[in-house]
Symmetry: C2
Subunit: 355 residues, 2 copies
DNA sequence: GTGAAAGCGCTAACAG
DNA sequence: CTGTTAGCGCTTTCAC
């Protein structure tokens, strides 16, 4: 193993000089810097992480706490995690992957052992049991997601309320007056992650402002679940001309069901989604959507936490502005009215197919 | 910060005693052990990771290298990563998340800095450029996936050849004689990750053994891509009665298209998939499938690497046996023959819908 | 069964 | 601008 002392000997300087060449914390003459760097390269020296952490009290590691549930938002989670890891590297940090399994104990363990310098929490719930431990440590931390009480904490998230409003704006602009919202599974609302409620608020408020009728129904992501929800919606509100979906898993079933019912998208009915761009773009009808900006959230979280580590403290809540991408699933209401006042009856044939 | 010395003082013993209580490397009288443990608990002591790493030459960290591409197999990747993290914890290890961006340099960096004790590589390609660096270091490592040359390396993967054979067995058992395989995107074959080819070998060999006709076509995961591939297959082999899909993204489009064409699953045509159980179970028709055992792969990789760290060296290649789950998408050929000798023509209506 | 003490490799005063 | 040196907190001989 090559140590700093080896490099110093090879370059004919003291070990502190080598250390300072590495850290840049004091000025070094061009010639010695050059010699030292040459020695480092030829010997293939890498500073020992443990020794550095012990001496400097900083590990250059950021802990990323991911949820244990592997069933929800997985693509988004992975995208965030990878964005966190790559952004962290550009700032000289590595990322420690901690699962939610340990819960609050993980926060204490990581802090007590000085394994990491800071922490990023994903999938934060409104009443997150990791937050008390976090607040107590006073550690640099950034949450991805918004808890109920954000005092003393930094958070990043999509502005879901604005996202909801944006959807309504888009549909209203196309002349739609009666819309339905296919929401997350009931379990999501029960877990109180907050984002689903915030979206709903945005949807409701803007609908009221613009005088649209809006119906919201939670919905399981399964094919059968979507079928049931869809049937229920059409029963309660036969005049619905547009759907807003906030449930990644529901988009494909919804499109398939509409097709089966001979309701053409977007001619007979408009559909839009709040979901990752990939999901929207690869749907059977490319969906007009508001994206969940996973990468930006990851990147931002790291930059925020690094800023804190450098002393610029700023406990702020940042809500990223939503961005709408118009694809092929939404159209002006006129089109639908021209094709048929009421959608054609479902052929008996289809009823026999598995739902 | 609470140090080991603090604990020693509190318990009225020497620091080495505390250390040995923690490591269990020498026998301690019941009474002192008790006192020490009590002190640890009341003071809330956590050993300092950096100091421990420096003194013991072991960081208790396993590096997990994930691919940078976020577009493929994301759910599987995440499932593996989480399984790795949780399993590692049960063995006293934490997991460092390293992205593929750095390539071979990452291997050298992690090793040189002694940041981790071992390494797990995901998404290994046949000619992986990280392998030379890995072999050179002689570091404990386990690959998830199978490179072309496995000498001196430990690998875990699904036995994709057996998985292919298992699919053919199942369909042959149901009386199918002419099958089609909808494969991964051409890019996957070009990247030479190996698993797609291995599956194909298994499919081909078993088909030959059992005297089935088999047609394979690569396929983009998009709706349009699947539509094109499907059309091509039916053109070349009108008599096809069953499909095997190895492309997560293709399953939903395929089912939607078949429904549109009035080919009922499984009455007119059987469909099976090689994909994660979740995907198979949530399809519009729950799919008979061979699962990619993400969790087991992650768990196994950690256990293998931990065994190596404990001196039990064993450079072995482990191919996990595939497991078939019968769901609702496959049926005996008889059924199809009874319903209609040739599938009904596609209604003109459907052709107008977006593909 | 327990203590004392010598490092592990690096950083950061302190001294020139 | 550079060198000397005292720890950082823990593990592990060596000694009793």
């Amino acid at each position: 193993m090559v140590t700093l002392a080896d490099v110093a000997k090879h370059a004919g300087v003291s070990s502190s000089t080598v250390s300072y060449v590495l850290s840049g914390k004091r000025s070094i003459s061009a010639s010695t810097r050059e010699r030292v760097e040459h020695s480092i390269a030829t010997l293939g020296y890498h500073p020992n992480a443990g020794a550095r952490a012990l001496a400097s009290n900083r590990s250059n590691i950021i802990a990323l706490m991911v949820p244990l549930r592997t069933d929800m938002y997985v693509p988004v989670m992975m995208e965030i995690a990878i964005a966190v890891a790559t952004t962290a590297r550009t700032h000289g940090y590595d990322v420690l992957l901690v699962t939610g399994e340990e819960g609050p104990a993980a926060v204490r363990r990581i802090e007590g052992s000085a394994l990491a310098d800071a922490m990023i929490l994903m999938d934060v719930e409104l009443q997150d049991d990791r937050l008390p431990a976090l607040r107590q440590t006073g550690w640099p931390a950034v949450l991805i997601g918004l808890p109920a009480d954000t005092t003393g904490l930094s958070c990043v998230d999509l502005d879901f309320a604005a996202a909801g409003a944006l959807c309504v704006d888009h549909l209203a602009g196309l002349g739609h007056r009666e819309i339905a919202v296919i929401g997350e599974a009931p379990a999501v609302y029960e877990r109180r992650t907050g984002f689903a409620e915030r979206t709903l608020t945005g949807l409701r408020d803007r609908s009221r402002e613009l005088g649209l009728r809006m119906l919201h129904r939670p919905c399981e992501g399964s094919y059968a679940g979507v079928a049931a929800t869809l049937a229920r919606i059409y029963e309660e509100r036969p005049g619905v001309t547009a759907f807003i979906v906030q449930n990644e898993a529901a988009t494909d079933p919804l499109l398939a069901l509409l097709r089966q019912q001979r309701r053409a998208v977007p001619e007979d009915v408009s559909v839009m989604a709040i979901c990752p761009d990939q999901v929207a773009a690869h749907a059977s009808v490319p969906l007009t959507s508001v994206a969940v900006p996973a990468q930006e959230m990851g990147r931002y979280a790291v930059e925020q936490v690094v800023a804190k580590l450098k002393g610029r403290r700023s406990d702020e809540v940042v809500l990223l502005p939503p961005e709408l991408t118009v694809r092929e699933s939404t159209a002006a209401l006129g089109t639908a009215a021209q094709r048929s006042a009421s959608p054609p009856p479902v052929p008996g044939n289809d009823a026999a197919l598995p739902a």
